[in-house]
């Protein structure tokens, strides 16, 4: 077994993937980075002479752009409310399904997971109608409780909550599965010992379940956060960023700038700002988790 042929074989197996990823992922990332320092736009598309190197101008412009801050605020709103809500719902569902007292687990698990595999666009179309002020299911059900109809997608105050609700509905099944796996990994002896000591369900939950689930929770929080930062399809199909830009997300703004108005340099800069935000968010999350663990 010559080392030479060993490495050659490895290269053979690696080549297609590495070439594909290198050419169609890394090169565009680098290109986007370069693009973000230019003012490439529709004029440049017509004639390359009309593109200028502008240094950090796009980035400073983002800083001064009220619409960017609105998009950031909206995205953070979505993230900070929707994220924990989604994780909490998933955890509850996982706890329910993990209980030894119930049967038909497969059925419920399947039911809760169904929204996850459905196409987001199709779901957005359905929910757009569920949210209809007059004919929608939601207002109808609320009317049973005496709540007057809400213009979910037309009221700037309610549009984002409406999208959050839909996103949580769609995703909780996915995180639920991961929580179930995490729960099943907790040694049963711990719970048995605690029962013998007379601990209540709530005490067991706090002192055993939560700490033992910490790595799983961190993992879920991070992937949920990364996913939620990329909010796009829901506003695109349901609200077109409105009303009054209350559902304009960072990716939607990036799409608008890049593909609608063809300010491509600016759009590329927005993409990297998004990346930086995701990175920072992940670091903050890990840091917080580590701190609470030590505490």
């Amino acid at each position: 077994m010559g080392n030479r042929s060993h490495i050659r074989a490895a290269l053979f197996f690696l080549a297609p993937a590495l070439i594909a990823i290198g050419v169609f992922f890394f090169i565009p990332v680098i290109a986007a980075f370069v693009l973000s320092f230019t003012d490439f736009d529709i004029y440049s598309l017509a004639n390359l002479e009309y593109a200028r190197f502008t240094g950090f101008k796009n980035y400073t412009r983002i800083f001064d752009d009220p619409l960017f801050w609105k998009a950031l605020k909206n995205t953070l709103y979505f993230l900070l409310i929707g994220g924990p809500l989604s994780v909490a719902v998933s955890l509850c569902a996982a706890l329910l399904l993990n209980s030894r007292l119930i049967r038909f687990k497969t059925f419920f698990r399947l039911a809760y997971f169904t929204p996850v595999v459905t196409t987001l666009v199709a779901i957005a179309v359905v929910w757009r109608f569920v949210y209809h002020p007059r004919f929608g299911l939601l207002n109808y059900m609320l009317s049973w409780f005496g709540v007057s109809p809400v213009d979910w997608l037309g009221d700037p105050n309610w549009a984002m909550p409406a999208i959050i609700l839909m996103a949580v509905w769609k995703n909780f099944g996915y995180n639920m599965i991961i929580f179930i796996a995490g729960l099943q990994n907790i040694p049963k002896e711990l719970y048995e010992a605690a029962s013998i000591d007379g601990a209540s369900w709530w005490q067991q939950f706090r002192s055993i379940t939560i700490p033992m689930l910490a790595p799983t929770t961190l993992f879920i929080s991070i992937i949920t956060m990364i996913g939620y930062f990329q909010l796009f399809a829901e506003p695109y199909v349901m609200t077109q960023g409105g009303p009054l830009n209350s559902t304009l997300s960072i990716v939607y703004y990036m799409y608008q700038m890049g593909f609608r108005w063809w300010n491509m340099g600016y759009s590329a800069a927005l993409a990297f700002v998004l990346f930086a935000l995701i990175l920072i968010g992940s670091l903050i999350q890990s840091r917080i988790q580590k701190k609470t663990k030590i505490a």
């Binding site: 490495i7 053979f12 119930i102 990346f275």
Partner: protein, 272 residues
């Protein structure tokens, strides 16, 4: 006491199931209602008159068969190609020693954090220069290899005993033969899981096909549906039928293979 808890638990489970399934069931129900029947208050739950007119409409005027074909063709192609390419790379990372192996792998995994949207504009311009805009290749090419897939396969392949490979080599098998006849069959569970992930991911993909496909004959189902919804805001029942057609194939596939899919998610996550 236990009985009370049990009742409470079942109640909670059923309510959650109800909330989860209600919009989907309503979607199905409304797709069979004649035009305009869904736009009344209170919203009807079951069609008074059962009609297939919207489905027929979608297939005749709406060209749905073409979109179905596009989605299916692309999903299958991307799945097969990416399974081959990713499994080759995953195997190499797991079982071959070469300088820089771990650093390259770490680099790949950490770049998973870069959002795909960053690449879209340049990728669009690049594929345009290559003449792949508005072609199937335009969707297939970016999907040919995926870091997540390589990661999953590498984790799985690492657990294959080296002795098996050794034995095959002693018997005179070449590298490719080992990969093809020993590794791949052993990886079947993870390949199935990854295959399902990839198929569903490609089927449900929206933004990229929206950008790349400019001709309506090339649209995938989600793009066609979004188009339909922008144009026919008033025709609720028709759009519900469109949604059903977009969601149904994937749901059916999922019901058939849910065991693998769910165990795959569990396997991929608990590693952390």
């Amino acid at each position: 006491m236990k009985a009370m808890t049990r009742i409470f638990l079942y109640l909670a489970l059923v309510i959650i199931a109800g909330v989860t399934l209600a919009p989907l069931l309503w979607m199905l129900s409304a797709s069979f209602m004649p035009r305009g029947e869904a736009s009344v208050f209170p919203p009807p739950l079951i069609p008074v008159t059962f009609t297939l007119e919207h489905y027929i409409d979608l297939f005749t005027r709406g060209n749905l068969a073409r979109y179905l074909f596009n989605s299916a063709f692309l999903s299958v192609c991307v799945t097969i190609i990416s399974l081959v390419i990713n499994s080759m790379a995953g195997y190499a990372f797991a079982k071959y020693r070469f300088p820089g192996r771990d650093s390259v792998f770490k680099l790949l995994v950490s770049s998973m954090i870069i959002p795909a949207q960053v690449t879209m504009l340049p990728l669009f311009l690049m594929l345009n220069k290559m003449g792949f805009i508005n072609t199937y290749m335009g969707v297939i090419i970016p999907g040919m290899a995926g870091i997540f897939g390589i990661f999953l396969i590498r984790q799985f392949a690492a657990s294959i005993p080296d002795s098996l490979i050794e034995a095959a080599r002693i018997d005179g098998a070449g590298d490719f033969k080992i990969y093809w006849s020993i590794i791949l069959p052993l990886c079947k569970p993870i390949l199935i899981t990854l295959g399902i992930f990839t198929f569903m991911g490609t089927w449900n993909d929206f933004l990229w096909p929206l950008i790349v496909m400019t001709d309506d004959s090339m649209y995938t189902l989600p793009v066609a549906l979004a188009n339909l919804s922008l144009e026919h805001v008033q025709d609720t029942e028709l759009m519900m039928a469109g949604s059903v057609m977009t969601v149904a194939p994937v749901l059916i596939l999922f019901a058939a293979v849910q065991k693998y899919y769910i165990s795959g998610i569990m396997a991929g996550s608990v590693k952390e």
